[in-house]
Symmetry: C2
Subunit: 546 residues, 2 copies
């Protein structure tokens, strides 16, 4: 039998932003880190979200010893429901992360079947042959951790999402001393967050939000409505603290905002006297000047509270005079348009809207910028650097930063999902790439929808569809005039020349009775429509014989 | 007869970014400023571009005295082809703007029919009852102007796109003294650019690009390929100057890049010794280290030089080892995804890519930031301020900035397209809004495609289409099994359960022979498919009787 070797296989998050999933393998033992989802880009039409292709794990069910979760954001936990349907393995997470996962799994009815083990930052756990040390990192959600993963081949440091915030809202900075300790022991490889690799300098501290919120609260003439992510517990704390200072009460609006704030308070991640929080009904009966509402919808999601307020379709309450809305979040890439449309609609309904880049920081990034990434590399001083979490441009840029610090270029590995890395006597070797692809989740269908279906949707979305229905008699003559239906192609007005001309065209072709009638008609109609309209609708034909 | 009054009617650019068009009306005389296009957002599926709805002008053809163009960008000139097909009126433009319009109109075969009068910044022209004074402004294209428009009701200042750049590449700053002179005469209304109203401080000077380019040129090991807009003449000059400093030759690649550089050099807007420019063939035969290629495609357009290089489909040349690509432009809002995909693909093919926000500025905005907007307002000190050019959030923010300078809030008018403004004895009155909408240009069809067709495309793009074709005999029984075709809905593999089950479902319904067979089948199939897949494809049915 060959000697056991440490292998690292990225199943998600390398070459893309989102759906993070990393596999650590030693002999017949697999440790999984994170299981996240990714939101579709504008070209993935109709897709709800994307999860990692974890076929590799399904084929090795018996070898998976556990899944470690670094923090509770959807790009790290959002695929857990799908993964747990296939793999019955324990999860390891810190208390708040565990709480957020439980809220989400209970909605899916999966909670009873799942074992989630609580680990605190600073503790370590033995998972198969892996000794996993959890160390605290700052991020835009409390209780985030990075991991030190030790197996007989050495120590690998996996940062997860992190930033070096010296004044975090919860007073708990990234665990510098642990990083230094790792360095003392000798680190084989560092797998480090690359999300902000093209952003210079340092990410501002969460603390800068306080000043911006204070400025808004100081002058807001009426109600204040803060929109943020339901998982952004530190932002909740900041809003509550500011509200308290100005004598306002806070109401959480929307299911996930309410559930998460309740859970976070219970676990001690939110700290406030109970009388500051009021229910939404009570809040709506108070003077506007005494109230803050905190809701979801900072990404312009149409069915969120903020989306409904923008369209005037929120049932519980509407915008009123002198409302001030604070969008305390950064638009997720690809979402800019819908966020800005929501902002414009809120303005149109008379609200004042405070958003990035206004007001000098109503949101800050949760990820390390360039100088922090260099610091991480210098502190950990690993033998190898493997940039993770980011599009290829971010990973490449991370490599360039490393070289700027004097790190040997040959020891930086820029790889994308599926590339297998193996360590042989402390030397890193790149092996074959395992197959893998996007798994689209579309309605109730997981993985059934592939790129070819999305491609068809794209064709349909560009120029619409034209349907031709023919009924032919036994002599191959038309039993009646062809029926022609279109969608997304032309107006449906009484006499549409193009459709009528197409019908004549089809009749001419059938008259000639060419060899392959179906392809002749479809091709002729396609080129006819292109010559008339310079557009290429999808042309479909149904043909019956009587 | 009622007294003549100055009326201002925005037909484009207010409440949106792009397709700028402003109407100034006095009695029976209309002056049009700019005629631009707008690029579709991600929800306007299949649309090529959008032009202003200029029905108002078509109905008053005889009253239009001329169209004044502030500068040669597509969002100010891109609808001219369509407008000139309807209105036979003279254009007024500065020499470079005229040159760019001529290149574009000659491609459309419209140049012979059009009169373009050359006006230099600093001159004034009488157009009907309007005295139009052209004054120089800095922008990301040379020879841009703002306008002082005087009629018997007073003087209106229309900034066009502008920034206050103290060190512009062409050495020609915005005409402060003219603005001061206007203020001295007394300005009834200022219509000012709001594009960057949410950006604090000052826009950096174009000059900062020089340092960034120098840094790239200093260390690039091989060829340099600079991608930018074909209209960005000042960037061409900067690239040429830097190339010259490092002993490199420059080749312009692509039709519009070549035409515009040639025209700009002829008119004196590009200044360089002829031996610096080489043809592309010559460039490809030189040592990589001696060459700079300048091409289009900075927005990730698939058929641009850069888009083809990213896909490996460029015919003339391919990427080679040590190529450095500089994307010297900012992604147009909504284009971020395609720009970043292009960047990732270029990296994947081995090039080094320098892009925003890297390298400390390979592009700067051409629009004034907040402090410049305040300066403009203070210098011109108009009676009324009308923010133009921007989404509602930008216009609102412009109003807030004005109030911060002490400008009376009641004298700022935040309005969107179609709102008619009238001046009565120096007082501004808002009149009724005229009807108007987006005019979609889609292939060869202008205005034929409306929101309802785009809505259909959206439905098709989300879940695809399912087509049912029935042939019934005289007794209302099926002549044969229904044909079912789908696109963008499911995989096309041999035995597809959903499609087969749908066929059975349709046969059951026809068996029962309900009243309205068509709507019964369509509705049942819709709810059946939703229950099976949680998706709502467009369901269409063709029915024939024999």
């Amino acid at each position: 039998m060959s000697k056991n070797k440490l292998r690292i296989i990225p199943l998600g998050g390398l070459g893309e932003v989102g759906k993070n999933m990393m596999v650590y393998e030693y002999g017949n033992n697999i440790l999984v880190v994170d299981a996240g989802l990714m939101f579709p880009d504008n070209e993935m039409l109709g897709i709800d979200y994307i999860i990692p292709d974890f076929e590799y794990l399904k084929e090795r069910k018996d070898q998976v010893r556990g899944i470690v979760i670094t923090h509770g954001h959807m790009d790290h936990v959002g695929a857990l429901g799908h993964v747990l349907e296939e793999l019955n393995v324990p999860l390891y997470a810190t208390p708040l992360t565990k709480g957020l996962i439980e809220v989400s799994l209970s909605e899916k009815g999966l909670l009873d079947k799942t074992t989630i083990k609580t680990v605190h930052a600073g503790e370590s756990v033995k998972i198969g042959p892996f000794e996993v040390e959890f160390f605290h990192v700052c991020h835009s959600i409390p209780d985030s951790v990075g991991l030190g993963i030790t197996c007989p081949d050495g120590l690998v440091v996996h940062t997860g999402d992190y930033k070096f915030d010296s004044t975090p809202v919860d007073g708990w900075p990234t665990d510098f001393s642990k990083l230094a300790e790792f360095a003392g022991r000798g680190v084989l490889a560092l797998l480090a967050d690359s999300t902000n690799a093209d952003k210079p300098g340092w990410t501002p501290s969460e603390m800068v939000i306080n000043d911006s919120l204070d400025k808004v609260f100081r002058s807001a003439p009426g109600r204040i409505i803060v929109a943020s992510f339901a998982s952004l517990v530190s932002r909740m704390q900041q809003v509550i603290d500011t509200a308290d200072r100005y004598g306002r009460k806070v109401a959480f609006v929307g299911y996930s905002m309410k559930q998460n704030s309740k859970m976070a308070k219970k676990l001690g991640y939110l700290d406030f006297p109970s009388d500051i929080e009021v229910g939404i009904d009570e809040a709506l009966n108070m003077k506007p000047k005494d109230v803050v509402l905190m809701a979801t919808g900072s990404q312009g999601e149409p069915y969120s509270v903020m989306g409904r307020l923008a369209r005037g379709t929120n049932k519980k309450f509407e915008l009123i005079k002198d409302d001030t809305i604070v969008l305390s979040s950064h638009a997720i890439p690809g979402n800019e348009e819908s966020v800005f449309k929501t902002i414009n609609s809120l303005f149109r309904r008379g609200a004042n809207v405070v958003y990035e880049p206004l007001a000098g920081g109503v949101h800050v990034s949760g990820h390390a910028n360039q100088d922090e990434m260099k610091l991480m590399l210098n502190m950990v001083s690993p033998k190898y650097l493997i940039p993770i979490h980011g599009e290829l441009r971010h990973l490449k840029q991370h490599a360039i930063l490393a070289e700027e610090t004097g790190f040997p270029a040959d020891n930086v590995l820029v790889i994308e999902n599926g590339h297998v890395i193996e360590f042989e006597d402390g030397e890193l070797v790149i092996k074959d790439r395992i197959p893998g692809s996007y798994v689209f989740v579309d309605g109730s269908r997981v993985g059934e929808i592939g790129p070819s279906v999305v491609k068809e949707r794209e064709q349909l979305s560009q120029d619409g569809v034209v349907l031709i229905s023919l009924v032919l008699d036994s002599k191959g003559k038309l039993h009646e005039e062809p029926e022609i239906i279109s969608r997304g192609f032309v107006f449906k007005h009484g006499e549409d020349d193009v459709i009528e001309e197409t019908r004549q065209k089809v009749m001419e072709i059938v008259e000639k009775s060419p060899g392959d009638l179906h392809s002749q008609v479809v091709q002729s109609v396609r080129s006819f429509l292109y010559s008339k309209t310079k557009k290429r609708p999808v042309v479909l034909m149904a043909m019956s014989w009587i």
